[in-house]
């Protein structure tokens, strides 16, 4: 275990930023991951950034290739893959798991090269959640907020940041900053971990969620459940839940007329939108009920079915905090779990 005094963090960030692009939670009205600079208002205390850090691996929009006319021919130029190392600092346990969930989609065959390149160049410094909030429910998804995954894990306790490298990438980063870190005993971190786990256990959503009801064997039953008829009713179809969610992974591919050329880009899409999966014959999901159902069936039934039972929700609670109509996955889980006859 290593450590660095909290007030030396700006110096630490400066050193990291010399070797890689550094992103961390920065307050600008709200708190979100943004590039570090000396005068940025770094905020490691706010638990939940509005957006998750998935942008760094799957940006909200990115160009794939450019097509331009060269005489009578069309010239295609592929967008280069990411090739600069970067560090995302302060990622919470749920969000690290969110990235692992994206990995299963984007790194399985056929591998998404754009995603893969970013993943290869990114180092994640995760951070334990000293003060989890009532809307957190990472525990049912087997995430340990006291000891998150990541290349380096950090704990903020006792006026210090404690640091432990977990992977090869993490060790490399540790070498770069090693002169600033001093070795430390484990006891403070162990005590904080115990405290965090106790706090997590006491949170309302961390016990009793009837998740075991969501199994592929029940797909049809869940799909046809009468509860959807009322659950979706006040959904505004805004898509906020999908854009702030660390695990929502759907994208659209479109062309942009840039005058001299056409840029083919991809951008996040939302199953909540009426033009999602719109095809020449129309939309397979015609009503908001079907679209709403898709979001939750995907996270709780379809994805687990293809990924050894792992749900594609990490319990970050963002949708609980931000849905303008106060709908969220917990309400869905509870509602569909009522007549559990497991």
């Amino acid at each position: 275990m290593l450590k660095i005094a909290k007030n030396n963090l700006p110096a630490l960030f400066a050193v990291i930023a010399k070797s890689a692009d550094l992103y961390l939670p920065i307050r600008k009205g709200t708190v979100n991951y943004a590039p570090w600079s000396e005068d940025a208002d770094v905020d490691l205390d706010t638990l939940k950034t509005v957006k998750s850090p998935k942008d760094f691996f799957l940006p909200q929009s990115e160009t794939l290739y450019t097509a331009a006319l060269a005489g009578k021919k069309i010239q295609l130029e592929a967008e280069p893959f990411a090739d600069t190392p970067f560090v995302v600092f302060g990622v919470k346990g749920c969000d690290v798991k969110g990235i692992e969930i994206l990995d299963k989609v984007y790194l399985s065959d056929p591998v998404d090269k754009f995603y893969e390149a970013r993943r290869k160049h990114g180092t994640i410094v995760s951070m334990a959640c000293a003060e989890p909030q009532a809307t957190c429910f990472c525990k049912p998804f087997s995430i340990d907020a006291a000891n998150p995954a990541g290349d380096v894990v950090a704990w903020m306790a006792d006026g210090n940041l404690y640091w432990e490298a977990k992977t090869e990438k993490g060790k490399k980063l540790t070498e770069i900053v090693s002169s600033m870190l001093e070795s430390a005993a484990d006891d403070i971190v162990t005590a904080q971990q115990k405290d965090i786990r106790q706090k997590i256990d006491a949170l309302p959503y961390n016990s009793g969620l009837p998740l075991d009801r969501f199994k592929a064997e029940r797909l049809i039953e869940l799909f046809d459940a009468p509860q959807w008829d009322s659950l979706y009713q006040t959904c505004l179809a805004c898509g906020t839940c999908t854009f702030i969610c660390p695990t929502c992974q759907c994208y659209d591919i479109k062309d942009f007329d840039a005058g001299e050329c056409v840029k083919r880009y991809r951008c996040w899409d939302s199953c909540m939108y009426s033009d999602f999966t719109l095809m020449a014959h129309g939309n397979p999901r015609k009503t908001q009920k079907e679209r709403f159902r898709q979001r939750f069936m995907h996270k709780l039934v379809y994805y687990p079915d293809k990924n050894d039972g792992e749900y594609s929700c990490v319990g970050c609670g963002r949708c609980v905090n931000k849905c303008p109509a106060s709908l969220n996955i917990v309400k869905v889980i509870k509602s569909l779990g009522v007549n559990a006859d497991v």
Partner: protein, 292 residues
């Protein structure tokens, strides 16, 4: 008061006077009741009403209006302005609604640190009277802290063009285009938004520049100009805490100054100042040159 609302809703539902009830349903936390339709008497035991029932229900009446029979809807004073506006625009029909006006003691929200605070709109509230209702339940408590709701707008007006551009860039570049502001807006009731249409290359799914969002917001502000009641829903729901009300209030302030005081939703008949333009007496578009 909540109890009186439940009793009355049950009466109207069981008597068949209304087919459904549109209200707020108890959430998991005190601060997240959800807008909900109730169709059975026992469901109404979950109806809640407190200061976290901020969601303006009038927009949902557009859908309810397509259903058979009447819908009982609970509206706070400010929500009734939106309802009037929707009736004026023929999006909802007055006789398909049974409106119970409910007293308001100001709406609250919790911030990221879980602290409870009064909504911005309630700090400058001018709408203390229900403008349309069938019956009323409960009393109003005035929460206004500031006399002038245009104070912030005036501050922005006083900035130099560069400062002002910087101000808006800082605000709008935070936008993640989640569409919450648009979809919650009772005035944004187009069946298909131009920004969702793939037909005319206006669909905006990605930004060309980091400040692209200005287009969306400025066009939206123009489109609701004269129809925006200043209900404050857009600012309430924005996950990025963008001061969207400043855009709409700037429009309202300009309209007031150029065409005379006007409050959208005051009634369901008076044509809006921009739809009722009079070439002889009204301000010419060229006023922008004088006003800067």
């Amino acid at each position: 008061m909540q109890e009186r609302m439940r009793i009355r809703a049950k009466e109207l539902l069981t008597s068949g006077a209304v087919q459904r009830v549109l209200g707020w349903k108890k959430g998991d936390f005190p601060y997240n009741p959800e807008p909900a339709f109730f169709t059975a008497e026992h469901e109404l035991d979950d109806l809640v009403y407190d200061r976290f029932c901020a969601a303006n229900l009038s927009g949902y009446m557009v859908e309810a209006n397509k259903q058979d029979g009447k819908t009982l809807v609970f509206l706070k004073p400010c929500d009734t302005y939106s309802f009037n506006q929707l009736t004026k625009e023929n999006r909802v029909s007055r006789d398909k609604a049974w409106i119970i006006g409910v007293g308001c003691e100001g709406n609250a929200e919790v911030d990221e640190m879980q602290e409870i605070g009064l909504l911005e709109r309630c700090k400058v509230c001018t709408k203390t009277e229900h403008k349309v209702f069938d019956e009323l339940i409960g009393e109003d408590i005035q929460t206004r802290e500031k006399e002038d709701r245009f104070e912030q707008v005036s501050d922005v007006e006083k900035m130099s063009p560069d400062e002002r551009f910087g101000f808006w860039q800082n605000q709008l570049s935070r936008c993640i285009r989640c569409n919450a502001c648009r979809n919650v807006c009772p005035a944004c009731n187009c069946k298909k938004c131009v920004f969702d249409s793939g037909k005319y290359d206006t669909e905006q799914k990605a930004n060309v520049t980091s400040f692209e969002e200005q287009m969306f917001h400025i066009i939206r502000a123009y489109h609701v100009a004269g129809r925006c009641t200043d209900c404050g829903e857009c600012s309430r729901v924005c996950p990025q805490a963008i001061d969207l009300h400043l855009l709409n209030r700037k429009m309202i302030k300009d309209i007031n100054e150029l065409y005379g005081e006007f409050q959208a939703g005051d009634d369901a008949e008076t044509p809006g100042p921009l739809t009722d333009y009079d070439a002889d007496t009204d301000a010419d578009p060229s006023v922008v040159y004088e006003r800067g």
